[in-house]
């Protein structure tokens, strides 16, 4: 988005100033676990999806559920 500006003083005006701001969307994502229960040695099947352009999904922690 852009703010267009001018400055006035003593009856005189200078125009043509602007500044831009990029407002980035807060990224969203969905994790779909297609294999919530697996046998020992099998691979998990978890799908991560996001509609946000330029997204990157990081796994921040993994822990065992008792």
């Amino acid at each position: 988005m852009r703010y267009n500006l001018e400055v006035l003083a003593n009856g005189c005006t200078t125009t043509g100033f602007f500044t831009d701001v990029i407002v980035n969307p807060n990224p969203t994502f969905v994790a779909s676990n297609f294999a919530p229960e697996i046998c020992h040695g099998d691979q998990t099947s978890i799908f991560f999806g996001s509609a946000t352009a330029g997204h990157q999904i990081n796994v921040v922690s993994v822990f065992m559920v008792p």
Binding site: M1, L5, E6, V7, A9, V23, P25, N26
Partner: protein
């Protein structure tokens, strides 16, 4: 002598009128003897003039880079109007009359290239005129004052060129020009919401644009 004028003074005083006057003097002594003589006296007009400052509808104020309009008129035939050297100071450039100049009835001073104020405050320039003919000088001078206002400057410090949705922008607006007011001419929020500013919103130098903006989409 004016008709009917008599005097016993050896040096009578009369007030002549404009133009050529022939004075015929006759003297009669105690014995009734007479003699006469005549002299011509030409009285020239003291020139008059008018200085009209038409600059910017008569306000005398211009913005930096603009021309001026000082009109000079004189009803006196042969009058020469003299402009004394103009002192432009250290902050006004483009002046053409630092050495003064001479003008005739109907001339106009425009400073054709425009006067430029390189400072951040208004500067006053005084034009002082006198008028003379080859025979007489009017001792009364006249002046016209021009105020050259600077082109206002603006500095923008955008410390938030890129924000996350829901965050606030922070754009510092400043101007070194005395009396400056900063105004938004337009804002293009696009699909961004939360913005409250519109054309005409004003700021004083040193203040900031701060408002939280929301991008509900998935792209910038």
């Amino acid at each position: 002598m004016p008709p009917g004028f008599t005097s016993t003074q050896s040096n009578p005083v009369v007030t002549p009128v404009l133009g050529l006057t022939t004075y015929v003097l006759q003297v009669t002594d105690a014995f009734g003897c007479t003699d006469s003589d005549q002299i011509d006296v030409t009285v020239n007009e003291v020139p008059t003039f008018t200085v009209t400052n038409n600059t910017n509808a008569g306000t005398g104020q211009i913005c930096s880079g603009s021309i001026i309009d000082i009109n000079l008129t004189s009803p006196t035939i042969g009058a020469i109007i003299t402009l004394q050297p103009v002192v432009y100071g250290g902050f006004v450039t483009g002046g053409l009359y630092a050495a003064g100049g001479t003008f005739a009835n109907g001339n106009t001073i425009t400073e054709g290239g425009g006067l430029i104020n390189t400072s951040n405050a208004p500067v006053s320039i005084v034009y002082t005129f006198s008028v003379a003919t080859p025979d007489c000088t009017n001792p009364v001078t006249q002046q016209a004052t021009i105020v050259v206002n600077p082109s206002p400057v603006l500095s923008i410090t955008n410390s938030t060129p890129s924000i996350c949705s829901g965050s606030a922008v922070n754009v510092l607006l400043n101007s070194a020009t005395s009396g400056a007011v900063i105004r938004i001419t337009s804002v293009n929020y696009g699909s961004v919401t939360g913005g409250t500013l519109s054309a005409g919103s004003t700021f004083t130098p040193g203040s900031s644009i701060t408002e939280s903006l929301i991008n509900s989409g998935n792209t910038r």
